[in-house]
């Protein structure tokens, strides 16, 4: 299998879908000619391959970019637009939430809006809180949207393909921390279904539900805990909306314990939804309190040690797991 980064995996997914279907086009700020000319960036080389008619560099106009996707999709095209960094989702959010998510419903099911909004996300670059602010919980609170947030290159490729082929608006979060590390990705054309969580590591004692970059943290913690005889099951949510409730419940039924891990700040984060789901529908299996490991309720600071303090890490996860496994 090829060893490629998530940036490259996304690139492949975009290119393959553009070859497959000429109704797919891309738009966004700097997606054609960009200020970062690294071949590991998701849209690298696509302008050269597909031309300026299908790879549209746009002005710095997030609302218009999102509206472009809404309007083009109702006409039967399959736009894949990019919001450069997650905090700028705010600027596109009227189009995404009040339009992309609702217009099908408002049409009484007559129209559809097969669009994808790719959003780069994740702290760790030292750029501070106006570049890093994980807002997947916002998108996941909007019926009509699907919300995908992969944690591996292989998942990113398969899920992005599904997102592009999906007839509903899909918000696709890409953690930039994953753009640069290679891992195994199948060569052939494949898709991964939206709405299905994945057991990345089976385990007996405790379920860790996580997504995106935090998957790596979960693995690190699981390795340490394994040595201490605690067998962690890692459930990678992959999709936040529609939520794979059965997948989550099944795992907790097995282990009886749950820790949710995400990078976004704790209060109001999507971890609350997972905990609530389990406390509602799998209560009787629970042997211990449900723990959440997440960023503290602060904006992402810029200074290195502060940013590290912000970021949830394996130590905090290990501590949380141990506090409920005796």
């Amino acid at each position: 299998m090829q060893q490629i980064t998530m940036g490259q995996a996304i690139q492949q997914a975009l290119a393959e879908e553009m070859h497959r279907d000429d109704s797919v086009f891309l738009a966004g700020e700097g997606i054609g000619v960009g200020i970062h000319d690294s071949p590991l960036m998701p849209t690298f080389g696509l302008l050269q391959e597909f031309g300026a008619g299908r790879v549209k560099d746009t002005p710095v106009s997030e609302a218009a970019i999102a509206g472009l996707a809404v309007g083009a999709s109702v006409m039967g095209l399959r736009p894949v637009v990019e919001i450069m960094f997650n905090p700028f989702f705010t600027l596109a959010s009227d189009q995404i939430v009040n339009h992309a998510a609702k217009l099908r419903y408002l049409s009484g099911g007559k129209s559809s809006f097969p669009l994808v909004v790719r959003i780069k996300t994740g702290a760790g670059g030292g750029a501070g809180c106006q570049h890093a602010h994980n807002l997947e919980a916002w998108a996941a609170h909007c019926p009509g949207l699907k919300v995908v947030m992969p944690g591996t290159a292989a998942d990113a490729k398969g899920l992005l393909k599904s997102a592009i082929r999906d007839d509903n608006p899909v918000i696709f979060f890409e953690d930039m921390g994953l753009f640069f590390y290679p891992s195994a990705v199948p060569e052939e054309d494949y898709t991964i279904p939206i709405g299905v969580a994945d057991i990345k590591k089976p385990g007996r004692d405790v379920t860790v539900v996580t997504w995106s970059k935090m998957l790596g943290v979960a693995f690190k913690a699981a390795a340490v805990l394994g040595q201490e005889g605690i067998d962690v099951e890692i459930l990678d949510l992959r999709t936040l909306l529609p939520l794979d409730k059965e997948g989550v419940i099944r795992s907790v039924q097995k282990t009886g314990r749950l820790v949710v891990l995400h990078e976004a700040t704790k209060t109001g984060g999507f971890g609350g939804e997972i905990a609530a789901l389990v406390a509602e529908e799998a209560f009787s299996c629970l042997k211990a309190p449900i723990k959440r490991v997440a960023a503290p309720d602060i904006p992402v600071p810029s200074s290195l040690p502060l940013e590290q303090f912000y970021m949830p890490n394996e130590n905090r996860l290990i501590e949380a797991v141990k506090s409920i496994v005796d």
């Binding site: 609302a63 309007g71 099908r104 509903n168």
Partner: protein, 317 residues
């Protein structure tokens, strides 16, 4: 020409009577849910613009869109039923009066978010350009919407890419309760077109023929690949923002003055003078329109509401 004039007259009259009926219905408690926002007095814009369009052309509407939709050919029964919230409505009761969508006539989206339709029109026009189709997009919005950021981003992008879209700013003097001079310092919204490198035109929005004319020209430019146009139609909102608005801020004389300039009366006078129509024709037309409108109301009233659980449908495909 005569034919066109007649068509404009009939369409305007239909819209007027359709909405007058809504004014009546509004007074009956619980008949029609939500707000009721009418275009009475502005009918020349909808009919003039849509008169220049083909079926394949797309329109994007706003909160004041009954006229736009009817002028584009939407079925009055389905509209009325939707306004009533009935399952036979064009959107199964999910939309109501404020966000009517009628894809059958390419009225693809109506949004009540002020300015919200403008970026979407960029998208539909982009698709038309991408597919090299011979159709264009028209986006209707008000003078107030021209203050939203979405207006700016969209016009810049549309001009940049020479998209086949006409931005129709229906300047009815008011944005909510604010007069034009209370919400912007410029006298003409059309002025802003220069800032995007696109032509901006001002036209008498109570003259349906003039509106049709400038729209047709702008449409030609679109089809020739010469890009978008901003058309500002100067008109007036006879009624309040919505039917609950008591218009305390609208000078009575101003309303009277504009009622003098009724777009329907204007064209009716011309048709009478030109002998293209007689008083009897008008009476007959009025009667037939009344019948259609009554039919629509009957259809709406007799239609059932959707079953409550149908609320769960149509979120995803």
């Amino acid at each position: 020409m005569e034919q066109e004039k007649l068509m404009l007259y009939q369409n305007m009259l239909f819209i007027r009577r359709f909405e007058e009926k809504l004014t009546e219905l509004c007074k009956i408690e619980g008949k029609v849910p939500g707000m009721m926002i009418l275009c009475t007095g502005q009918e020349a814009v909808a009919t003039g613009v849509c008169g220049a369009l083909e079926k394949d052309d797309v329109i994007i509407g706003n909160h004041r869109s009954h006229g736009h939709l009817l002028a584009k050919g939407a079925d009055p029964n389905a509209l009325m039923a939707e306004i009533f919230g009935k399952v036979t409505g064009c959107n199964k009761g999910k939309s109501g009066t404020l966000h009517l969508a009628v894809p059958e006539v390419n009225a693809l989206c109506t949004t009540t978010v002020v300015g919200g339709g403008i970026p979407i029109a960029v998208g539909t026009a982009f698709a038309q350009q991408y597919r090299e189709s011979k159709a264009i997009t028209v986006c209707f919005f008000g003078d107030g919407a021209a203050d939203e950021g979405s207006f700016h981003e969209s016009l810049n992008m549309a001009a940049l890419w020479d998209l086949p879209v006409i931005f129709v700013c229906e300047n009815n003097v008011y944005s909510g309760a604010q007069r034009m001079e209370e919400h912007t310092k410029v006298k003409d919204i059309a002025l802003r077109a220069q800032g995007y490198g696109m032509p901006g035109v001002t036209v008498d929005g109570n003259d349906a023929e003039a509106v049709l004319q400038v729209t047709a020209e702008a449409r030609q430019r679109c089809l020739a690949g010469e890009g978008p146009t901003l058309i500002e139609c100067k008109t007036y909102r006879w009624r309040g923002h919505g039917e609950l608005d008591h218009q305390v801020y609208q000078p009575k004389e101003e309303i009277a003055m504009w009622m003098e300039r009724c777009p329907i009366k204007k064209i009716e006078q011309q048709l009478l003078v030109e002998g293209a129509i007689s008083r009897e024709d008008i009476a007959a037309l009025e009667e037939s329109i009344a019948m259609f409108v009554d039919d629509a109301v009957r259809f709406a009233e007799e239609s059932p509401y959707p079953a409550p659980e149908e609320a769960l449908e149509d979120v995803y495909i």
